[in-house]
């Protein structure tokens, strides 16, 4: 089986150069280790529907459900990883497209656990496209990078200038209560995103790179002792971005706080970026949810439903 060209390209990343050994178990990128997911949403008879679904284990989406009481027209897909987490040698590819005027939400079933690795690495490539007037919330649950894990993720986004995308990652730096060396004990976490218009114009790019032994992790200007962080971008037209920004107050008290958060404008009028750090995942999730609510209210005129008790 030939690996998709984007995944093959990721294999050549500079930061992976020390991790090309083959696992003693199934070889890297073997059948069964290459998960694929393709989700296509479109407007059909005035209703947003999941019209295209293709999946290859270990990634799974069953169907779109409409359970958001505050936005009942929103088709929601939950990504399920039947593998119980990301293992060494795994290769994932996720495509999400939202057609003109359609809306959708894609999330995940639970935390995305990147397990310890003693050979190779895990990679993921995502392609997200939004046509005119489309609205997508793609907010997977926390990624937990276990001690010794190696995970690289690249995301390409193509978005029309009047569409809105809320996308980002929330990361917990290891199973913090499991082992003394678990916190930021990961070998590699590399997360890159590139945003373009449909005509190819570049809007925004970012690469978050954390490598084993980074001496700055606990610098006051980096993690300041916090264990969880989030980068959530809202790609939206400038007038919507201005309204969102006006409603979100930066949270950075002088006294010790459970979480810090703030939003800044992206270059090329692409939208906004919310950053947050916190002690526990719930502290960061609270900041993300606050931003999410404002984005939805200003973009769709809908609010968020009450949070589930079990989340």
């Amino acid at each position: 089986m030939t690996l998709h060209e984007k995944l093959a390209h990721i294999d050549k990343a500079r930061e992976l150069r020390s991790y090309h050994t083959e696992p003693a178990q199934m070889r890297a990128a073997a059948p069964g280790k290459v998960g694929e997911l393709r989700l296509g949403f479109m407007l059909r008879n005035g209703r947003s529907v999941l019209h295209d679904l293709y999946r290859v284990t270990p990634l799974l989406v069953q169907r779109a459900l409409y359970w958001d009481e505050a936005m009942p027209e929103l088709p929601i897909c939950s990504i399920i990883s039947v593998g119980g987490g990301i293992l060494q040698g795994d290769r994932y590819k996720i495509d999400i497209s939202v057609g003109e005027g359609a809306c959708a939400q894609v999330t995940s079933q639970g935390a995305n656990r990147v397990h310890r690795m003693d050979a190779n690495y895990a990679s993921q490539y995502q392609a997200i496209s939004l046509e005119d007037g489309a609205y997508l919330e793609y907010l997977p649950d926390f990624t937990i990078a276990y001690r010794g894990s190696r995970f690289i993720n690249e995301t390409d986004i193509v978005i029309a200038d009047n569409a809105t995308l809320l996308y980002g990652e929330m990361v917990l730096a290891g199973r913090k209560h499991h082992h003394a060396e678990e916190r930021f004990g990961l070998d590699l976490l590399s997360m890159a995103v590139k945003v373009r218009r449909p005509d190819g114009r570049k809007l925004f790019a970012e690469k978050i790179l954390i490598e084993n032994g980074d001496p700055t992790i606990d610098f006051a200007a980096v993690m300041r002792g916090y264990d969880a962080f989030a980068n959530i971008m809202c790609l939206t037209p400038p007038e919507t971005a201005t309204r969102i920004k006006a409603r979100f107050a930066t949270k950075f008290p002088v006294e010790d706080a459970r979480a810090l958060s703030g939003i800044s404008r992206l270059p090329n009028a692409a939208g906004l970026m919310m950053r947050a750090v916190g002690i526990e995942t719930r502290d960061v999730r609270k900041e993300v949810r606050h931003f999410w609510q404002i984005v939805r209210e200003e973009s769709c005129g809908r609010t968020l439903p009450e949070e589930f008790l079990w989340r």
């Binding site: 570049k202 970012e206 200007a221 993690m223 002088v254 800044s264 270059p267 090329n268």
Partner: protein, 240 residues
């Protein structure tokens, strides 16, 4: 004692070159960089920086981050300027702005870049810099400061290591100059911090000199929140 009139004085090679590098490293270079502090006001208000030791850590962190972002674009632009591949200069310019989050950070990056180009063209002609400035004015390229610095210094014969060091020196001196006006610290301590922080120049250069533009990377969530905080902070060097 009278000097032996038979001795001939010969100037070492490169004295003018060195003098020019010093001129363009000077913090008084009128390009407006004195007005920026890399969010130091917010770092002080939130307790990230509160004494000389934490200021040193802040400067070292900014230098590390700057090397891995702006430094990479600077080196690519410098190589492109030397090779005469103008499109590669524009590519580095675009890629760098694409990675700058925060309206004030974007403003600083492009305003100072344009000012530098205008200044250098008043002093010495450079066809590449002239073309770049014209493209900034038409909106064809953003005009990021490290790119202008790379073009100007390549034009003056500075090699890429010298250009990198001058850029990094400028970043450190910008923060320390702001620190003198914003916190209880004297000139002796800021010079000591500058001297110490410059020890990392070699390692930072080696860490980034072989990186491609796609390798520009960062990780500093608290600093990113500081950048957001800085746009609304009440103590500032200058009001926008």
């Amino acid at each position: 004692m009278a000097r032996d009139s038979t001795l001939k004085c010969s100037a070492p090679q490169g004295m003018v070159h060195l003098a020019r590098l010093l001129q363009f490293s000077d913090t008084t270079l009128p390009i407006g960089s004195f007005a920026f502090s890399n969010s130091l006001e917010s770092a002080l208000q939130t307790g990230i920086v509160n004494d000389p030791a934490s200021l040193l850590q802040y400067v070292e962190f900014i230098l590390r981050q700057s090397a891995r972002m702006d430094g990479v674009a600077l080196l690519h632009a410098h190589r492109a300027a030397i090779a005469g591949t103008y499109d590669a200069i524009l590519e580095a310019d675009c890629e760098l702005l694409c990675r700058r989050v925060g309206e004030e950070q974007q403003l600083m990056l492009t305003r100072v870049g344009k000012k530098l180009a205008e200044l250098v063209l008043k002093i010495t002609p450079s066809s590449t810099l002239e073309r770049w400035l014209a493209d900034i004015r038409t909106g064809a390229t953003p005009g990021c400061f490290p790119i202008g610095q790379a073009i100007a210094l390549a034009h003056m014969g500075a090699d890429e290591a010298e250009t990198f060091v001058m850029h990094q020196y400028g970043v450190a001196s910008m923060i320390l100059s702001a620190a003198l006006r914003l916190m209880r610290i004297d000139h002796l301590d800021t010079q000591r911090i500058l001297f110490k922080a410059q020890e990392r120049a070699n390692d930072d250069y080696l860490a980034v000199c072989s990186l491609c533009l796609d390798d520009m990377a960062t990780f500093a969530p608290v600093f990113d929140v500081l950048v957001a905080h800085h746009t609304t902070t009440h103590v500032r060097l200058f009001m926008n």
